[in-house]
């Protein structure tokens, strides 16, 4: 056990920071505030990611045969940490590099790899993730969207909800039911311009571009657009989620927001002892989340199976997000209620979803109770 950074890891962090300094426009913070799926950030990502690719910082962790540099999990993670702290200038494209690309590498046919991995490493293709449905939220297996086979094609009917980035996406990583059996689900790599797809944005407090409904009305897909075997969707999803286990390093933006809020208090002579205590508690919660996440990264770097630590890290992240959001509301409410500091607004919009998206906080607690404490399975597992 040791907690140091290697020189190589520090060099990567330095390189990413310099890259961000050089490539983020002066009004970036105002733009980031619009959310990663907004038109502005999505469009920006299509010029930012190609430059990132040129600097070797888009997909260094991909194997060399797919255009990567076989870089370590840690290097990939450090890039993600700095990007999130900066407000995620890769927009929706973090999906591609983190898990959609690697999942296609594992399950994709040669033509699928050729088409999709090429686009992803160029840094200008937007994907969305079509998992959740009105009937299937935490209980994803209750999803109802059907893909009915007709010879070498399928007809897709149903709907998805909460689909981030859907309006501007070129492709959807779609889950659909290929038989009535509860677990018989398949994955499709569906172009979003297919006839029969309707996307409706949902207005929300989390910013533009993050929530949509997507309707499928006799949408045709060819079997060559299915990823993995028919009915083998869970294995594909499990594999994809294993990449997602590290999740978004949310504490990084939370800490940055805390620093902003404290800086404002210091400026206004308002950093009293009581406030210092509250700021320190929020800071410690972020540090706890950070260390738990690092432990998950370490497990992933060793290719060890996921453990309950993943759920602990996710729960600690939710606590840290809430700690910072509450600090801002308690001590610098004007920063929340105004557009004085766009990063504070950015954080608030993103933090509000932390305990819901990608497995609700309570689901994480169920998993900790079962996997770490050996308590009887509660409903919902």
């Amino acid at each position: 056990m040791e907690f140091g950074w290697t020189e190589a890891q520090q060099a990567v962090r330095g390189k990413v920071c310099s890259f961000l300094d050089a490539h983020l426009p002066s009004r970036w913070e105002q733009m980031a505030c619009l959310s990663p799926g907004s038109e502005a950030v999505t469009n920006f990502s299509k010029s930012f990611c190609p430059s990132l690719a040129e600097a070797g910082l888009l997909i260094p962790h991909w194997p060399a045969e797919y255009g990567g540099a076989d870089a370590s999990t840690w290097e990939h993670f450090i890039i993600g940490e700095q990007m999130w702290e900066a407000g995620e200038p890769r927009g929706p494209q973090y999906y591609n590099v983190n898990w959609i690309g690697p999942t296609i590498m594992k399950f994709g046919a040669p033509e699928q790899k050729e088409l999709h991995l090429n686009r992803m490493r160029q840094g200008d293709v937007i994907w969305c993730q079509g998992f959740s449905e009105p009937s299937g939220g935490s209980d994803l297996a209750a999803l109802r969207t059907r893909a009915e086979r007709k010879d070498d094609r399928y007809l897709i009917n149903g709907s998805k909800i909460w689909t981030s980035y859907a309006r501007l996406a070129e492709f959807c990583f779609l889950l659909a039911r290929t038989s009535s059996e509860r677990r018989a689900i398949s994955v499709f790599l569906l172009p979003m311009d297919r006839p029969g797809i309707t996307v409706r944005p949902i207005q929300s407090v989390v910013g533009d571009g993050d929530l949509h409904e997507v309707f499928f009305d006799d949408v045709e897909v060819h079997e060559s657009e299915r990823l993995g075997p028919e009915g083998g969707g869970w294995e594909v999803v499990r594999y994809a989620l294993n990449f997602e286990r590290i999740g978004i390093p949310r504490y990084a933006l939370a800490l940055r927001t805390l620093h902003r809020s404290v800086a404002a208090l210091i400026r206004d002579d308002g950093f009293s002892e009581a406030v210092q205590g509250a700021a320190a508690s929020a800071y410690a919660a972020c540090e706890a989340a950070r260390l738990l996440v690092y432990e998950v990264v370490d497990q992933r770097a060793r290719s060890s199976p996921s453990t309950g630590i993943t759920s602990m890290a996710r729960y600690a992240i939710v606590t840290a997000e809430r700690g910072v959001a509450d600090f801002v509301l308690d001590w610098t409410p004007h920063l929340f209620a105004s557009d004085e500091d766009p990063m504070v607004a950015t954080h608030h919009k993103r933090a509000i979803a932390a305990g819901i998206a990608v497995g609700a906080a309570e689901i994480q607690l169920n998993l900790i109770a079962r996997d770490m404490l050996g308590l009887g399975a509660s409903r919902g597992l």
Partner: protein
């Protein structure tokens, strides 16, 4: 970053296991508020475990691993100061008592060879004279006493050494609290598996599961933060670890007692041997208010970088 124990660290903990085995279960028929173990204290001194931080190839992190592990047992022995602070003051023997003020209750004063007395102007280190001590009878599961006066042979440490002693005390509290919390939770999880109500083990109820799961997360983070603080040995990490632990303690105590029902309030049932150490640790060294201020001063001194970007070195 490497979260797995090295082979040396594994060896250290395995060799400790044999020594701790007889002390893992609560003393039968103890019915005492405090279970200070003279035998374990002597064994730890004799076997050299308390000198681990000064041994070649080992350091403070290894000491913190020991502190945490030993603290998870239902007995109280002085380990933190002996492993983390002793090397700074010339290793005059063990146990070492830490006192946060003359006339304030402090742990292990009666047993101690040395006392470190923290004051605003530094740390006084001396030999506690038995006739200058008033033992305290209380519900706390540590042996407590007060010091009537500053020891006559006290050496006054100031500056860097005093600051380091203080910092190591915080790291010790964090590591010890993590171990005690872990022991308390382990007992409670076993209890909710065994105890049946409404036709089910208590542990099947989600309301209970969720709180215990939160506790497990807090304790896991406490341990790792304490280990990191020992590894870094700097004020910021020490304050983070100690603050996080002293904040977590209150929830762990409450939940462990709550789910143990009335049984958990008896001396016959050993829960108090963990929770009534935690109650003492919660306010040690000024408690969360003091640690919060220390941390804020470390992080925001002289003031936050205006753009809020962090240093990761």
């Amino acid at each position: 970053m490497d979260f797995e124990l090295s082979s040396d660290q594994k060896l250290l903990l395995t060799s400790l296991e044999g020594l701790l085995d007889p002390f893992r279960s609560p003393p039968i028929g103890g019915h005492r508020y405090v279970e200070y173990s003279v035998e374990l204290q002597a064994e730890l001194i004799k076997s050299g475990f308390l000198d681990v931080a000064s041994e070649s190839g080992y350091g403070l992190l290894d000491a913190a691993l020991l502190v945490e592990e030993i603290a998870s047992c239902p007995v109280s022995v002085e380990v933190a100061a002996s492993t983390l602070i002793s090397p700074l003051i010339g290793g005059f023997g063990s146990p070492i008592a830490l006192s946060w003020g003359v006339d304030r209750p402090a742990r292990y004063l009666k047993q101690a060879k040395i006392v470190c007395l923290f004051r605003h102007d530094g740390v006084l280190v001396g030999t506690p004279a038995p006739d200058e001590l008033d033992p305290i009878e209380s519900v706390v599961a540590y042996p407590l006493a007060t010091l009537r006066a500053v020891p006559s042979d006290a050496v006054h440490y100031t500056g860097n050494i005093a600051a380091t002693i203080r910092r190591r005390a915080l790291i010790g509290i964090a590591a010890e609290a993590a171990g005690v919390m872990r022991g308390a939770l382990q007992l409670t999880v076993q209890y909710v598996k065994d105890r049946q109500q409404f036709g089910h083990p208590l542990g099947d109820f989600q309301a209970i599961q969720h709180r215990l799961a939160e506790d497990a997360q807090l304790i896991h983070a406490c341990r790792t933060l304490a280990f990191r603080a020992a590894y870094e040995d700097d004020d910021r990490h020490a304050a983070v670890a100690c603050l996080y632990a002293q904040e977590a303690i209150r929830k762990i105590i409450y939940d462990c007692h709550q789910f143990s029902g009335a049984m958990g309030l008896t001396l016959e049932y050993p829960l108090h041997l963990w929770t009534y150490r935690l109650k003492y640790l919660q306010g040690e060294a000024g408690g969360k208010a003091r640690q919060g201020q220390l941390l804020a001063q470390e992080v925001w001194r002289p003031q936050a970088a205006a753009d809020g970007r962090q240093a990761y070195a």
